[in-house]
Symmetry: C2
Subunit: 476 residues, 2 copies
């Protein structure tokens, strides 16, 4: 290919090494149950095995693959293990991984429509598909005044929603003059930490975030929200943003969107809905109750990179009024001006105005591959399976009088604890995680250490859930 | 593998489809010069070829690959073409693509040390390597009070630097109380649009960003900077942040870091240095003049995903005082508490506190692969080649009396124009881009339309630069 000295990998070498990597991943998929789920290394152990200085001369590809096995793999916590029940899942799948590979191979930038029209148009299209697949409000579609975009994470989506809310509440003057009045944001005291992070980043200040009380299901109390909004208004402060959660991280609580939405409309406050993990459940009609009232929301996000078999990162974010979002985030330097692009007015979008970063890779490809590979029925099948397995696990917990459910699990996350108090629950968690047979994490509910068991990894089957329960019982 | 109904891709299917994708990318690399560099489609053309509804049943993988060729490829602007000279490069390479593939296959989350120790430790280690490779100040190393982290883009790095500067200037009270006083940021009037975007996001307001005049090389004038800082101070405003640029997007101007740094020290202002593309040049000792004075900076970033053969996204960001960054961005909910993690105090880091998103993928893998595949000498070789080719191109421009250089090119970006004015330059650009033979973009310098010719794509050789110049001349 090359008539000059080159250090590049040739296409033929890429073919050879690429096959080796594909085979490595296939083997990893097959052998993953042999590894301890939680990495067993000590802090600093990986670094100490790496050379202090970078290589002066290039190394053969085989050396990297050897070190991957010998140095890196022991330091991996296996999120793709079917016995991973910690945090939220970050499940992946074959079609998604191969979509990501193609995106890396094409290596294009999607910041403007013109910098690769297919990147923008496929993204707009697939996000319109998802509106129908999840039965989201039609006004989130690009064919209306709304539209969807892929963000890296729900944290970034929350920040973009908050910024737009901030601008709308100040007639787009905060962007110009800075935050010059007390703007108030609201979320339940169970909402994700990214709400607090966003409020700090956007210059509102932590003191202007109200963490609203929850009911016995850990869902936001609408009456408490409205009382707080009224109190702030009476004091001359400006309520601008409510973040409701569909499936809190702690306990999967579903905030009552309809009542919250009515309050937001009454008081002219932006409603953002964060359904990071649980939104995926709406693929199945029987779980769509979680979105009741969503038509009252100004923005919404969920993460296919959590529970929809799409490897990280892929958060889908919709707004009802894209012009407000674009007006908030658009900056137009000369070197980015282009005739074909549309900043909201035209037939196509320039997505750099829809999020924080300028550059963006072709993430719609993997999402398109996942949807086409599984089809709606395939996705529904596996989501139903996960919910069923979690509900079964919950029934076993209930049948064992030593344990209790902290809350009735609405979907695929079971929060439970031994009745013996924090110490024994800590011991159970430490022991099962140290065993390497499964991985689960904790939260605190009503100030009690509570174990979280989240079913959502791609290949989790009944036997993994059974093993997990047996392993938990064996610690006692 | 599976004894239940499943819609998943099996490991054997993954092997087969994976090989097909690897072969597709190898073929794409070999055939890329056959495609028009700039996509020739019209707005909406791609979408109109996609089905209105998502598939109910799953489709064979071959159907996706067929549509990739028939629907997606015509909508691609080929950033990996050796005749891509637009914007800044986003160059990729075999080892990087395969590192990304492995990262997708492992599918881990690196938000906490414990969620995959190898992800955090390899990242810390490779960013320490890069401090030596680029001869950056030693106080950016993790073994001091500083440290490095991979961000998605330089836009996000700038935002994180600005937020930390905002907090330092207000004794970390802005995070709590909101932005309650006029905090002022400074950058040259040639700085990247992300500075303005960050100032808006962080709640400072566009009116509190001073765009400082530049000299005849389009570099920031330190005297003008200091005058602006003094004026703001005298008026009771608080200067908090200066962004200096090493290689502006418009014309690759290098701001004088030493003099700017001295001013920042004198006035207690955070200095962030954005070397998004040009930082890579410092791999070669003869180009390290661009970083003269960098030891006075509080933070620094450059993007291996631009010019260092590492596919997007991969921005490397260092701070001298990591505690300030972590204090700015850390939020500690119960469900993320973990014994092994270190929020700056311990031997290891929890990188979620170093950037906006919570989740993060294993991006250090591809960077590690690139450095090991090329070695320092291989990277230096190709960077030198790119600079040499750009300088040759500039000499041809100079030798043609119809053209002029807008500025003497310091590295790999040539800004030039036909002496006949905006109209003819616009015509040249439109014609060459429409020809599909190469792609270049424009800027405005001294209010004159100026063509930008940036050499940095992985496989660009002398013949591509020669062809480009011939094609430009042929438009006249």
């Amino acid at each position: 290919m090359n008539d000059e000295t080159t250090y590049h990998m040739t296409p033929d070498q890429f073919r050879r090494h690429g096959r080796a990597v594909v085979d490595w991943i296939a083997r990893y998929m097959q052998q993953i149950e042999q590894y301890p789920v939680l990495s067993q290394v000590k802090p600093g152990e990986i670094r100490r095995r790496l050379p202090a200085s970078p290589p002066v001369k290039g190394e053969p590809f085989e050396a990297m693959m050897r070190d991957l096995d010998e140095i890196i793999l022991p330091g991996i916590t296996h999120w793709q293990s079917p016995s991973f029940f910690g945090f939220f899942p970050a499940n992946a799948s074959g079609p998604s991984i191969l979509g990501e590979l193609l995106s890396a191979g094409l290596g294009i930038q999607g910041m403007l429509w013109a910098t690769s029209p297919a990147c923008t148009e496929l993204e707009t299209h697939v996000l319109d598909w998802l509106v129908d697949m999840l039965e989201l409000p039609q006004h989130f579609k690009s064919t209306t005044a709304g539209g969807g975009v892929i963000q890296d994470t729900a944290s970034s989506a929350t920040l973009c929603a908050l910024l737009t809310a901030r601008e709308r509440a100040t007639d787009f003057t905060s962007n110009q003059r800075g935050v010059d009045r007390p703007l108030i944001a609201y979320a339940s005291n169970q909402a994700h930490s990214s709400v607090e992070k966003s409020v700090k980043i956007a210059g509102l200040g932590r003191e202007n975030l109200r963490l609203i009380e929850v009911d016995e299901q850990y869902a936001m109390r609408p009456d408490a929200l409205e009382a707080a909004i009224k109190e702030d208004k009476a004091a001359g402060r400006i309520p601008c943003f409510v973040c409701a959660t569909v499936g809190t991280t702690s306990s999967n609580a579903i905030d009552p969107l309809r009542r919250i939405g009515e309050i937001c409309q009454r008081h002219g406050v932006w409603l953002h809905v964060d359904a990071a993990m649980s939104g995926t459940a709406a693929l199945c009609p029987e779980f769509r109750f979680i979105h009741d009232g969503l038509q009252l929301a100004d923005s919404y996000c969920f993460n296919p990179h959590k529970w929809m078999f799409t490897n990280f990162d892929c958060d889908c974010f919709w707004v009802a009024d894209r012009a407000a979002l674009i007006n908030t985030l658009s900056v137009q330097p000369e070197y980015l001006k282009n005739p074909a692009g549309g900043s909201g007015g035209g037939e196509v979008f320039d997505y750099r105005d829809w999020h924080i970063p300028l550059g963006r890779r072709f993430r719609a490809l993997k999402l398109w591959f996942v949807i086409r590979h599984y089809g709606i029925v395939g996705l529904q099948h596996h989501i139903r399976e996960h919910v069923k397995l979690a509900q079964e696990f919950a029934s076993w917990v209930q049948a064992d009088e030593r344990f209790e459910l902290a809350v009735k699990p609405p979907l695929n996350l079971v929060c439970f604890r031994h009745r013996g108090g924090d110490e024994i629950n800590q011991k159970i968690m430490d022991r099962v995680n140290r065993s390497g047979k499964l991985f689960l994490t904790h939260t605190r509910l009503d100030d009690m250490l509570t174990l979280r068991f989240c079913v959502g990894q791609t290949h989790t089957q009944r036997r993994h859930v059974e093993q997990a329960w047996a392993c938990i019982q064996a610690t006692l």
